[in-house]
Subunit: 197 residues, 2 copies
DNA sequence: GTAATTTCTTATCATATGTAAAGTGTTTTA
DNA sequence: TAAAACACTTTACATATGATAAGAAATTAC
């Protein structure tokens, strides 16, 4: 079940996040507010489904989300998102192609949904919005390049230990089966790694 | 050995590439020309070295390049670049942190080197440059997300066959040892995969 | 609160990949 | 052009991971 309403405090959290990248005038904030909705969504439900073309940039205020898809019938987690971060299927957002991936929340969650086609139109009217989101997506590019490095150069065991060290909360809030596919291994292998220590 | 000079035809190739993303006025083209150099570099030499902070966006007109680094003393290839594409260590460019990776050319190559701090200053003067490079980096984000998917979903064998099918030239121009580490396997394993067929 | 379902662990076995070493063929260099 | 260096393949062996199945633990549903 998905509930839409309008929460001023949720919207304020979004602007607090955005200001970390670039300052926004009151006018630009108002314009962004007008193309955004706040969303309440129940645990274990899909925020966006497979085959859907991404036209929304989500900001996750509360909860945990993952992007996943099916490979040979097996559910694979591509990424996790936690509080105070954006959640987007970039490959669909920037190509306007249907995504093979879905977004699911793993806890009851609160989000802001920004309509991306409308946002991209604001770029002409408010250059500051273009600059701000450019910086957000540049940061996402850095994260993604680092993720490639992590997958290619480190073993699943190294990455599990790194995850445990960097983000112990993940382990408390996310089922191990999802962490396993995120690490590129089976739940059985993850159990073995965990048992070693 | 690295040779610097100024080639009008090389610069024109760059603008042809850039126009695919967004049109540029003559004034903006002139401004970009003024912060760029053309580069000739010999096979098997480093264009940028490990520990160097990336302040250059390269456009590769002729040749092949790879980004690589060392993991436990082993040379690992992160990516390849071919004709008419940009070559950048994004994680260093956007964080201003020294990169753990180097850029090496595998053939005698011709490039254009754009000074990135100066380019970023042009963004204020010529909004079209900000828009253009935003789109270039958004495309790079899409490519990188797809690469994560490729690594995480597909076996080395699948990816080798895909590479062979999509870019048979790669195999002719790049030593197999580099392709092996790019695929995340040893040269021995790659030999086995190649022998199967 | 109990039953049903889901999640996680453990064990066994088969397979794939890594390591090391040796040998062949190609390229580089002086 | 000959020697040296490098690239690639093959073999043998050790190890890690996957598949499958069974059971324990935790969570969910009624």
């Amino acid at each position: 079940m998905l509930y839409l309403w309008y929460s001023v405090s949720l919207m304020n959290s979004l602007f607090q996040y955005l200001q970390n990248f670039y300052p926004l005038s009151k006018e630009a904030q108002k314009a962004i507010s007008e193309i955004s909705q706040t969303v309440l969504i129940k645990k274990n439900t899909d925020l966006q489904s497979i085959g859907h073309t991404c036209k929304t940039i989500y900001f996750l205020k509360k909860g945990v989300a993952r992007i996943y898809y099916f490979k040979d019938g097996i559910d694979i987690t591509e990424s996790f998102s936690f509080e105070n971060n954006i959640v987007v299927r970039f490959e669909s957002l920037f190509t306007s192609q249907p995504s093979k991936k879905a977004i699911q929340v793993l806890e009851d969650s609160e989000l802001v949904a920004i309509n991306s086609p409308k946002l991209f139109k604001l770029y002409d009217q408010f250059p500051e919005t273009e600059r701000l989101f450019r910086k957000i997506f540049e940061a996402a590019l850095v994260d993604t390049v680092n993720r490639v490095e992590s997958i290619q150069f480190h073993t699943a065991e190294e990455r599990y230990k790194h995850l445990m060290h960097e983000a112990p909360d993940v382990l408390k809030r996310v089922p191990l089966k999802y962490i396993a596919s995120y690490l590129g291994i089976t739940p059985v292998s993850l159990s073995r790694i965990r048992a070693q220590k």
